[in-house]
Subunit: 209 residues, 2 copies
């Protein structure tokens, strides 16, 4: 890989100089545009993507329904690829860039080696497994126990925190895709919230009260 200005300024997790050398040697930088599909369900993966900048949306799909699993943000990687690195495995989800995204791509066969050699890499791997699991478990609990109305509210509140803004740019259809339901259901629920004065609806965005 060509020397990249400030790569490890953005990837602070990897402190060992030796590890950094290896990453520079074997890694490739990739740029993805908004909407680019990086991983498809059923696909066999032999690389590990680490997001440098931007974001990847990982979701499951069934017929015309889809549901969000998690986002991969900077300094993070994806479970599907990680699973593939250790076992013969086909992706159980899709990955799509939600904005222009820069990705560091590493070949799978190095993952396990590095894990034994470099403590910071090991920590990264374990942390990924752990936090992805937690996320999924939280979403699972939500889907299993909370009616959609509550999940819409949850989603909007989390989004507000994350973006630090009460103006949430999302279409009803997109919201439905995040939550695993349909557009009509989302519109209906949002309208109810609007009547309850908890938000206002506009074309293309939602303004929380």
């Amino acid at each position: 890989m060509e020397a990249t200005i400030d790569l490890f300024g953005k990837l602070k997790s990897f402190s060992e100089p030796e590890l950094q050398k290896e990453i520079l040697k074997h890694g490739k930088l990739l740029k993805a545009n908004k909407g680019d599909i990086l991983i498809k369900e059923g696909q066999h993966l032999n690389f590990l993507p680490i997001v440098i900048k931007g974001q990847i949306r990982v979701y499951q799909q069934k017929e015309d329904r889809e549901i969000l699993l998690y986002y991969v943000g900077p300094e993070q990687t994806c479970m599907m690829s990680l699973s593939s690195a250790y076992f013969d495995y086909n992706s159980a989800a899709n990955g799509m860039a939600t904005e222009p995204t820069e990705i560091l791509v590493l070949p799978s066969y190095l993952i396990a080696d590095w894990q034994l050699k470099y403590p910071s890499w090991n920590k990264f791997i374990i942390k990924t497994f752990k936090s992805r699991y937690d996320e999924l478990l939280a979403t699972f609990g939500s889907v299993a126990f909370t009616p959609i109305q509550g999940r819409v509210k949850q989603y909007l509140l989390e989004r507000m925190k994350k973006d630090n803004s009460k103006k949430i740019p999302v279409s009803h259809q997109t919201l439905a895709n995040e939550l695993g339901t349909t557009r009509v259901v989302v519109s209906r629920i949002l309208k109810q919230f609007e009547k309850d004065k908890t938000l206002k609806l506009y074309r293309g965005y939602i303004q929380l009260a």
Copy 2:
């Protein structure tokens, strides 16, 4: 720990003699009865249980509803404890023995050390993370996309395979708890299946056709 006959005959994953010594030195054997609660939601865990014999049911609960996450069988361990070993963490689920169960209990602080020292231990850890994730993801997809009727069918078929028997000893209430719904719903669906001749209902068990 007192020398235990054939412990490593049952735990074939741990091949290194050094690791076996460590396990014998720091581990304790524990016996649980059917119905014993081993882990509670919110509880802080400082041990890692590895099942030797029997089974632990790990599930989430909310008010009077509950839903199965997974079972921990022989040679397996639980995600909650594993997460606790690496990070400050409170269990997000409950664990209960479903039958008389023998458990090897190891202190949390050793998990990470051993992982760097013993490849077979590392493999065990990674495999646990990976397979627990896969299970949860499968269940998640099922809950998100499949109507309950289909999930009842899935459950019964899987149970048939696992037990290698078409006679499935389970009450409607228990089935409801596994699937995150209520008894009445399960009874209704099962009755429909009986009308369709795909199974017969008896007190305390279900006979698949």
